[in-house]
């Protein structure tokens, strides 16, 4: 605005996020579609729970308050680069204040499937100014560890296209008019995003994980890296349920599902 700062003078300046001064830990994963980041986060989640940590999971575009509007925008193709960016920021803010920050205050380990870097990469590809995006998300808490799952574009594309009959309009980046063919548009779109991620990974000191490694090897790396940061996170005392699970040699898979559903009602 008239009193606003001069955007141009700030070009190239990296803007840090808000430091995490809470007792909890924030672990986030990023990567293009098909990089396997969600699988790795899921494995990490199970491990942390088995280690007795209080774990809270949050994923991109899932706020119970905002999600319906985003869906409406996507279904009706109402979203343009700016409204796409703003509505995702609203979703992020809602989850940050309702899920992430209270959990960090309580000393939990918060796992986030995609974080602000997803917006930095995607919205930049959609033409938004990178400084504006960083200011938009200036309220975000800095992750304790941010993982970037680095995968060759072709491999990621194959993984996605194999498991899916058709791509959605915005998912394939069709709004960018890169190609009329959805699969081709998707490839070009993901390539552009990957290029942005590559810069972001350096700018924000993200931990790169070679996503072509065996699942189990990647997970081992992730746990090794996370381990030292867990100090100070609270651990739950053994509960009756845990005792019962141990006594009957059960893993508690469905109990965990139930707890997840309670946290983010679909």
């Amino acid at each position: 605005m008239s009193s606003a700062r001069n955007y141009d003078s700030n070009k190239g300046v990296s803007m840090a996020l808000r430091p995490n001064n809470y007792p909890g830990k924030l672990l986030i994963v990023e990567g293009i579609d098909g990089s396997g980041k969600s699988t790795q986060l899921d494995l990490l989640h199970k491990w942390l729970v088995s280690e007795g940590y209080l774990v809270v999971f949050t994923e991109w575009n899932s706020s119970p308050i905002v999600r319906a509007t985003t869906r409406r925008g996507k279904q009706r193709r109402l979203l343009t680069p700016v409204s796409f960016s703003l509505i995702h920021a609203a979703d992020f803010a809602s989850r940050l204040y309702m899920q992430v920050i209270p959990a960090l205050q309580a000393g939990a380990v918060v796992l986030a499937d995609r974080y602000v870097y997803t917006a930095f990469a995607r919205d930049r590809v959609r033409g938004l100014d990178r400084e504006w995006l960083r200011r938009l998300y200036a309220f975000a808490v800095e992750p304790t560890v941010a993982f970037y799952f680095d995968v060759p574009l072709d491999e990621a594309i194959t993984r996605i296209l194999e498991g899916r009959p058709s791509l959605k309009f915005y998912e394939a980046g069709m709004d960018l008019a890169l190609s009329r063919i959805p699969s081709e548009s998707f490839r070009l779109f993901q390539g552009l995003i990957q290029n942005e991620y590559d810069h972001l990974a350096n700018e924000y000191n993200m931990v790169r994980i070679d996503a072509t490694l065996q699942l189990i090897d990647q997970q081992q790396l992730v746990r090794q890296i996370v381990g030292p940061y867990l100090e100070g996170a609270i651990r739950l005392e053994k509960t009756e349920i845990q005792d019962a699970l141990m006594a009957h040699r059960l893993g508690g898979r469905y109990l965990e599902d139930m707890r997840l559903r309670q946290r983010s009602p679909k």
Partner: protein, 256 residues
């Protein structure tokens, strides 16, 4: 006609082409008489051959329902609400306001970004952040601010809508005393409007005056803004939908 000016940088998707229309904004707190004055201004301008598009908060196709739903809940932080409103604002700017301006019409906007900024500041959202986010807003040709005192406002509100939950700041002020919260909230809100008026050069009109007097003041101001504009009625090219693809939509929204 000059290239469109934005408070921050020009957002993507907006061509850097001159806009022949005019963007007129009426700001002011609830009950100050914005709707009445806009109704009068529209009729007056239309009778003189100008095409007017009218838009206000929560009228976007994209976000209006979502905001309404969200405000019914109990867990809405001010930042999420701000971003929700910013989405609504942008959708209207892109779909209602800009097409009208491209087509040489007058866009009459009932509260632009400033009411959003003032409300958010009261709820603790940092001013700098709001100014950054709303850097995407097109600078209006003029912002009229209808000012009023809480004392003058109260009887009007009691007499019409009654005290409203949000307009009394009940979401962040303590206690069940709606009357006192209303006064406290509106005092703070009016102070914020006045500071924005100074910072962004609004034309301030005393909204406590009789309706006719306020209208005359607005007319004089609008007259300056539209000076040099051709009423689009006599100009076939500007009303040709093929030349200006936003006209049809905007006209329909105007009727809704």
């Amino acid at each position: 006609m000059s290239a469109p000016k934005f408070y921050g940088i020009r957002p993507p998707g907006i061509p850097n082409e001159p806009l022949p229309g005019r963007l007129i904004v009426i700001e002011g707190t609830d009950g100050v008489g914005r709707s009445t004055q806009i109704a009068l201004l529209r009729e007056w301008l239309e009778s003189r051959g100008y095409a007017v598009v009218h838009t206000g908060f929560r009228r976007s196709d994209l976000a209006s329902q979502g905001i309404q739903r969200a405000k019914r809940g109990h867990t809405l932080d001010p930042l999420t609400l701000s971003l929700f409103y910013a989405t609504d604002f942008w959708d209207r700017l892109e779909r209602h306001i800009l097409p009208a301006l491209r087509a040489g019409m007058i866009a009459m906007v009932d509260r632009y970004i400033f009411s959003l900024v003032a409300r958010a500041i009261l709820r603790g959202v940092p001013r700098d952040w709001l100014e950054d986010v709303y850097g995407i807003a097109l600078v209006p040709d003029r912002v009229f601010y209808l000012d009023i005192s809480v004392e003058q406002l109260l009887p009007r509100i009691i007499n019409t809508t009654g005290l409203d939950y949000w307009e009394s700041g009940q979401d962040y002020l303590r206690g069940p005393d709606l009357y006192n919260n209303y006064i406290e909230y509106q005092r703070a809100l009016l102070a914020e409007y006045r500071s924005l008026a100074e910072e962004f050069g609004f034309q301030v009109i005393d909204g406590g005056q009789p309706i006719g007097t306020v209208f005359n003041a607005l007319q004089a101001g609008v007259e300056e803004v539209i000076a040099g504009m051709t009423p689009p009625k006599g100009d076939e090219t500007k009303l040709n939908p093929e030349d200006s693809p936003g006209v049809e939509d905007s006209a329909r929204i105007d009727l809704a």
